[in-house]
């Protein structure tokens, strides 16, 4: 149960700090837990109060003084205390014996110790508290930053997922280009092959024609050469010479006219 837990925790790690008369140097305790007792509560845990209930001289709650102030003023509770003390002593409801002396010694030592070492222990306890709170805060901050980072990453992933369409378009373009390149290569190949075959046929035909022509020319020459008799040769040479002479005369005449 909640209270059982809190009881155990109360009695174990309590560091008692002694008050001082001046309320400026406030005493402190190590922080104890402040749990939700119901498992279904959604509200954030309210912060612990800063200071506890006020007490005067450490053992008398302030409420008594506030209660008596309207009727008896400031000294009322002190007078009440003094009267009670006198009554108790005189009627020996409180008996003075050896234990009184022991109590007085112990009380002196305790009060002296608390007055002297109170603030130091208080500061130490505060420091311990601070460290605990700081550690918890660090864990919380770390969790917050990592979660915020995770949120940003998630948003970025979503943005990336939207860009997938562009990626697919680019890939489709690539594939189409590859196909087109392939088709054109093959078309070229086909053209080249067909051209080669046709060139071969043309070369073949040209060869045929050339060979026929040369053969015919050779045959005609041979025949002509064999048909020229020596007599015909002489007469044709003489004619050529006379023609040349005539031509030379004509040429000379032209040359002298031009000059």
């Amino acid at each position: 149960m909640g209270t059982l837990n809190s009881t155990l925790k109360f009695y174990m790690p309590v560091l008692t700090i002694v008050p001082t008369i001046k309320s400026a140097c406030l005493p402190r305790l190590v922080q104890l837990s402040h749990l939700h007792t119901s498992p279904n509560s959604q509200a954030p845990v309210p912060a612990l109060p800063e200071k506890g209930g006020k007490t005067r001289h450490g053992i008398i709650p302030e409420e008594i003084f506030q209660l008596l102030y309207p009727k008896t003023g400031v000294t009322g509770p002190y007078m009440l205390g003094a009267g009670l003390l006198t009554y108790i002593l005189s009627k020996e409801i409180y008996i003075i014996n050896h234990e009184t002396f022991a109590a007085a010694c112990m009380g002196t030592v305790i009060i002296y110790g608390v007055r002297k070492f109170g603030p130091d222990v208080a500061a130490f306890a505060d420091k311990l508290n601070e460290e605990k709170v700081q550690k918890a805060q660090e864990v919380k901050d770390l969790a917050m930053t990592s979660l915020a980072q995770a949120v940003l990453d998630e948003k970025k992933e979503q943005w990336r997922a939207e860009g997938r369409q562009m990626l697919f378009d680019a890939k489709r373009n690539n594939v189409a280009m590859l196909l087109e390149t392939n088709r054109r290569e093959r078309v070229h190949m086909v053209t080249n092959e067909v051209k080669k075959r046709l060139d071969y046929q043309i070369a073949l035909q040209t060869l045929h024609r050339r060979m026929e022509q040369e053969h015919m020319v050779n045959w005609v020459e041979k025949n002509v050469v064999t048909s020229i008799t020596p007599q015909q040769e002489k007469t044709s040479i003489a004619k050529c010479i006379t023609d040349l002479k005539v031509l030379a005369k004509v040429q000379q005449a032209k040359a002298t006219v031009a000059i």
Partner: protein
């Protein structure tokens, strides 16, 4: 002044008028469960007021110790009676 009528048994002690004190005591829950509940309630109130704070004081523990001292004195009074200095007061 009063926002709603509170039945007598559930009033807080400081709100009970003197004349109603007897009937108020009669209406309180004295079953074991009720006693336990009141003990738990009182403990929670004291604890949350004086101890479960950021900067507690010695008052929280000191009041408990003083109460313990007083209670143990009362329990031992019958033995201590023999140490009295005078017989008649």
């Amino acid at each position: 002044m009063a926002d709603r009528i509170v039945p007598l048994g559930e009033k807080r002690l400081m709100d009970v008028k003197l004349g109603e004190l007897g009937s108020w005591l009669g209406k309180r829950d004295f079953t074991p469960n009720g006693v336990l509940a009141s003990i738990r309630n009182g403990h929670d109130r004291y604890y949350n007021k004086y101890i479960n704070v950021k900067k507690g004081g010695i008052g929280g523990v000191a009041m408990l110790l003083v109460g313990y001292v007083a209670l143990s004195y009362m329990w031992e009074y019958d033995h201590l009676k023999h140490d009295r200095w005078r017989k008649y007061h």
